[in-house]
């Protein structure tokens, strides 16, 4: 059966690259395996439906809904104003404020595209007005948007947790320090280039201004506190925390800020259902194909082979980083995650690498693909917002990849950066 699966996976990779929708290619590969292997075809729809029959996966549509509600509630102006009051007076203040806003927004939404679309327009407009080159402004906002899925909540972490059987709560906590490091490293980069490019600073509005902008954004700033506080105090599971955060987001939009209208709701709900469908059908098909792979003992064969060939866990992590960075350049984050989890995670576990640390490394690598040509989806969004060509932005983003790659190297080499906080909050496994 291993040989049969290897042949099917070969054909499957070709049709993926030729452009067949990914879920259908995975589903057809699963059907081919069960039928040629003399098994019942009903296994495929059964495994697909069973992939959704899980309470933790319910967190995914609820986090998508929260991102859509907060996006439609137009809270970003308040968050950017608060961030500007804090760090705007530094040289390159608008860029610093842009990065800080993205870090705050990352605690509310769980995807880089949502972060880019949410805060990007406000940040880029402010930077362009202050005299930044449009491509520089767009590059800074794009790089900052990658913090979105690293600081919790995070849609890729929910998908990884469910698919790799890792604790979603631990994954969320594991993202906090790397997310902060990403923000700090980007701010250091701004501090280095600001004097060279003559990036301006804003006038310091004083503590009173900080207090006024904080009051303006205060209710919104409570979102991550409620979400993470509820989850890690043991009050809610991640799924329940997502539901509570949805209701809080509705309160923000309808009651506290009154920026949300009833007529916005159909679009929010349809968008949530569509995004859920796009993501979940991949999880469903990956559930069926993953079952076929485990029956054919592909991971059980590959993992010892990798251990025998590579020997060193560090070398395995280095090789994984290269593979993931390359795959991330050509494939959508969640799709790549679902395809690579059954291959790489068992091998990582065989090397004694914690699946939580490895999850962070996988997500980090694949997220970098969203700000890298040829299919960097965040770059597409930001190029449209900043009104620059994709090619120009693709060149402007390159220096901003350096600090992010350094953080990636740090979390790869030093596990406590990802595993210390989950250990402190949730105890040893």
């Amino acid at each position: 059966m291993t040989h049969l699966m290897v042949e099917i996976v070969g054909v499957w990779l070709v049709v993926i690259l030729l452009g067949l929708p990914l879920f259908a290619s995975m589903g057809l590969a699963a059907f081919a395996f069960v039928m040629l292997g003399g098994l019942s075809g009903s296994i495929v729809p059964q495994k697909m439906a069973q992939a959704m029959n899980s309470f933790p996966i319910v967190a995914a549509p609820l986090f998508i809904l929260m991102g859509n509600i907060l996006g439609a509630s137009r809270l970003t102006d308040r968050i950017v104003a608060f961030a500007s009051s804090l760090v705007g007076a530094l040289r390159g203040g608008y860029a610093h404020a842009s990065i800080l806003s993205s870090m705050i927004f990352a605690g509310m939404v769980g995807s880089a595209v949502a972060d880019a679309a949410g805060t990007g327009a406000v940040e880029v407009r402010a930077m362009k007005k202050a005299g930044y080159r449009p491509e520089t402004a767009a590059a800074i906002s794009s790089a900052a948007a990658t913090i979105g899925p690293i600081i919790p909540p995070s849609l890729p972490m929910v998908i990884y947790g469910v698919s790799a059987d890792a604790s979603i709560g631990r994954l969320f906590l594991a993202g906090v320090i790397p997310g902060i490091l990403m923000g700090v490293s980007l701010m250091i980069m701004v501090a280095i280039i600001a004097p060279r490019q003559g990036l301006p600073r804003q006038a310091f509005g004083g503590l009173r201004n900080i207090w006024v902008t904080f009051k303006g954004a205060g209710w919104a700033l409570l979102t991550p506190v409620i979400l993470l506080g509820g989850m890690f105090s043991g009050l809610f599971t991640p799924t329940e925390a997502a539901a509570v955060a949805d209701i809080y987001a509705l309160l923000l939009g309808f009651v506290f800020y009154r920026t949300l209208k009833w007529k916005d709701m159909p679009a929010i709900l349809v968008n949530t259902a569509e995004t859920t469908g796009i993501v979940m059908v991949l999880v469903m098909a990956a559930g069926a194909l993953g079952w076929c792979m485990s029956i054919s003992r592909i991971p059980q064969t590959l993992a010892p082979a990798m251990v025998a060939a590579i020997h060193s866990p560090l070398l395995f992590l280095f090789a994984s980083n290269i593979i993931l960075l390359l795959v991330g350049c050509f494939m959508e984050t969640l799709a790549a995650l679902l395809i690579l989890i059954p291959i790489l995670v068992p091998a990582a576990v065989s090397f004694g690498i914690d699946p939580v640390q490895f999850g962070l490394i996988m997500i980090f690598n694949l997220i970098l693909g969203t700000i890298h040509p040829p299919i960097g989806v965040v770059l597409f969004v930001m190029a449209r917002i900043a009104d620059v060509t994709f090619e120009k932005l693709s060149r402007a983003i390159l220096p901003w990849l350096v600090p992010l790659l350094l953080v990636l190297a740090a979390i790869t080499i030093w596990p406590p950066l990802t595993l210390w906080l989950p250990g402190v909050v949730m105890g040893a496994k």
Binding site: A24, G27, P45, M48, P61, E274, G277, M280
Partner: protein
Amino acid sequence: MLHSLLRGFDRAAAIVACMLVVVLLGCVALGVVSRGLGAPFIWTDELSRFLMVWLAVAGWILASRKRIHVRIRYLQDKLPPRLHAMVETNFQVALTIFGLLITWYSVGLVAKNLDLEATSLPLSMAWMYVPMVLAGVVMAMQGAVEVVESIRRSHSGTAPQ
């Protein structure tokens, strides 16, 4: 006629999907509230899992109708127009076959699970697989229509949309 039927179907699918999102949120929230009040409902977890299957499939159908599923078009877009159209037609055939297979085997699953009851709900487990039948039918029909359209286009010499 066909277009107005399709518009009606899309509208109905969108309304059902929206309702599923709202009910799912309500169900999970009810679980939290009932536990907070010291009288937890035992059925909210299981109902949310049923709703999750339905929502995922409703979203799958919506995304299929709008043709917004994830696919890597990088290589296909580099093909000459004729070859591009030919590859696309073959993909629609593959989608039709996938839809038919899903429909056929999901009907079998529904039949097999009719007598099985959920743990905490007076619901047949067959309801877990009913949406798979719907998704299969929609996918097979859409794939078949697109195959016919692309063949018609290639005969009349018009470019694909």
